[in-house]
């Protein structure tokens, strides 16, 4: 429960009693990182302890050191780079195509009341179906390989992103559209300077949801449809019961997603939606 009136008084340079400013910004950041990593470190220690004490066989659950060794081996043999590279390339290509197609589509739909009313149920239907359910048909059409996986990533993201973009445009206040038009904004300018930024909160949350779907679609598609990538590594390890490699791959997948979230989505949100003081859409 932070007190209400305190903040404003400080900024208003009232009489601060005993001023003892805390360490600078970098200090706060290091502290936050520490706070974030500490529970994970405790969890890892617990894992090591439990495996040590109960003595579960490696076939059921590997020790921390085994997993670390597996990651090291994968890194040394070049497998890690190969799988990581394959997965990242597919996600990147798939999401770039998805953003490039879904944003214009969503904005076009949102700009027209009739179109958005018509497409709304269709899109909602497709969002539920997108991604994994397309794997059989995608592999049938495109064959096993890169193409099918990229198609799945695109497909998983496209509908969520298009739907959220459309909702975002629909929710731009009419007064904002009217004022832009009365200031003489043309079609092009409306798109870049009103519709796109106005729909941004919803687009960002769509991107978050979409990337989540895309990421899951990638792993599933790689398990089924390729001979490289993190999903494939998982699948291969499962067939030989190498639990150390399975857990290692899972940790890598988790870290990758956290990095995507911290380094890509969070800054995007900070620099657009939060910077402009707009509320985020639903997540």
């Amino acid at each position: 429960m932070t007190p209400g009136p305190a903040g404003s008084a400080v900024r208003g340079a009232a009489r601060p009693g005993g001023a003892r400013p805390r360490s600078g910004r970098t200090g706060g950041r290091a502290r936050a990182l520490f706070r974030f990593l500490l529970p994970l470190a405790v969890l890892t220690a617990l894992w090591a302890l439990v495996v040590e004490v109960t003595g579960v066989p490696m076939r059921v659950f590997p020790q921390v050191t085994d997993v670390a060794a597996a990651i090291r081996d994968m890194a040394l043999s070049g497998e890690l780079v190969q799988h990581l590279g394959a997965s990242l390339r597919r996600v990147l290509i798939g999401s770039v195509i998805a953003i490039g197609t879904a944003l214009p589509f969503g904005i076009a739909l949102g700009a027209s009341r009739a179109l958005s009313a018509f497409f709304s149920p269709l899109l909602r239907f497709s969002v539920a179906l997108a991604g994994i359910a397309w794997i059989p048909i995608a592999t049938l059409w495109i064959g096993y390989g890169d193409g099918a996986v990229i198609f799945i990533v695109w497909n998983a993201m496209f509908f969520a992103l298009a739907y959220n973009t459309m909702l975002g445009v629909r929710r731009i206040p009419t007064s904002l559209l009217r004022s832009a038009r009365s200031l003489g904004a043309g079609r092009w300018r409306m798109f870049w300077e009103v519709l796109l930024p106005g729909a941004m909160p919803s687009i960002v949350s769509g991107l978050r949801v979409g990337l989540g779907y895309g990421w899951r679609g990638l792993v599933a598609a790689e398990i089924i449809a390729t001979s490289a990538g993190l999903g494939y590594a998982l699948f291969l390890a499962q067939s030989t019961f190498s639990t150390d490699v399975i857990i290692a791959s899972m940790v890598i997948i988790g870290v990758l997603w956290l990095l995507t979230d911290r380094l890509l989505l969070a800054p995007l949100e900070r620099n657009t939606v939060e910077r402009w003081g707009m509320a985020g859409g639903e997540r």
Partner: protein, 271 residues
């Protein structure tokens, strides 16, 4: 008999970001008698709401004491009902559900609490809306419900935190007259926080004028207006105009353009 005693109240905050200490309330003392209507008035950001929050038990004072009916305040309790600026009605309860919430806490049986709830809804003019949900009411009706919810609970003091600040001017006049009428009829003890001088003078028996932060009591102004009061009579009464003018002067004396910051509405989900 004295319902509320505030003695040497002090509140110092530590800013969460900079770690600096801010004195919100320096030294505030006054009392409210039973059946009395007392307003607290002061410049923006002077900590009026903090005084109310301390009385309500939402914040712990760093110094001094608050006593209600002779007992020292520790945390929120049903003897001090609060009417919030943001209504703070429960969206998931009907009008009747909101108004009888306090009685349900007391364990009063359904039939009796609904009967009493209806009585107070009628008092504030909300009879016939029992089954509606708060979002279906207008802003003015929502605040009537906020008042009824507290009155039904029959607290020792009713605390009102700028209850009409986010309501349009026309409706506000009506609500003020209705509040006066209810007050004159049932004589609850009211502690009212506002920044509107006219409102304070119209409603109150006495007005506590606070100074700038760190706030202390600048002066306690009695209001010498006959009851029952109406706006029509008040605006014509010399006593009304004189009191308003006097408070205006009091507040202007140490007017400081640098300090003209808006007061956050009690923090959280205000307005």
């Amino acid at each position: 008999m004295t319902a509320l005693v505030i003695e040497g109240l002090e509140k110092v905050y530590t800013d969460a970001y900079s770690g600096e200490e801010v004195v919100a309330i320096g030294d505030v003392s006054f009392t409210v008698e039973q059946g009395e209507f007392v307003s607290v008035l002061g410049p923006s950001g002077c900590g009026k709401t903090t005084v109310l929050n301390a009385v309500a038990g939402f914040v712990d004072p760093t110094g001094g004491e608050v006593r209600v009916d002779g007992h020292e305040v520790r945390g929120p309790g049903p003897d001090r009902g609060v009417v919030f600026q943001s209504h703070a009605l429960f969206p998931w309860k009907t009008v009747l559900g909101n108004v009888t919430f306090g009685l349900r806490v007391q364990g009063i049986r359904r039939r009796e609490r609904e009967e009493r709830g209806r009585e107070f809804l009628e008092l504030v003019g909300l009879d016939g809306f029992e089954r509606r949900y708060p979002h279906e009411l207008s802003g003015g009706m929502q605040q009537r419900l906020g008042v009824a919810r507290v009155l039904t609970n029959e607290p020792a003091v009713m605390l009102m935190d700028e209850p009409f600040a986010s309501i349009d001017a026309q409706t506000r006049r009506r609500l003020q007259e209705d509040l006066t009428r209810i007050f004159e009829k049932r004589r609850p003890t009211v502690f009212f926080v506002t920044h509107d001088i006219d409102e304070a003078v119209f409603l109150s028996d006495r007005i506590v004028v606070l100074s700038h932060r760190p706030s202390s009591v600048q002066e306690i102004v009695p209001v010498d207006l006959p009851r029952p009061r109406t706006w029509r009579a008040a605006v014509d009464a010399p006593a009304f105009r004189d009191t308003v003018a006097r408070i205006n002067d009091l507040l202007r004396v140490d007017e400081d353009p640098e300090a003209g910051e808006p007061e956050p509405a009690g923090g959280g989900a205000g307005a």
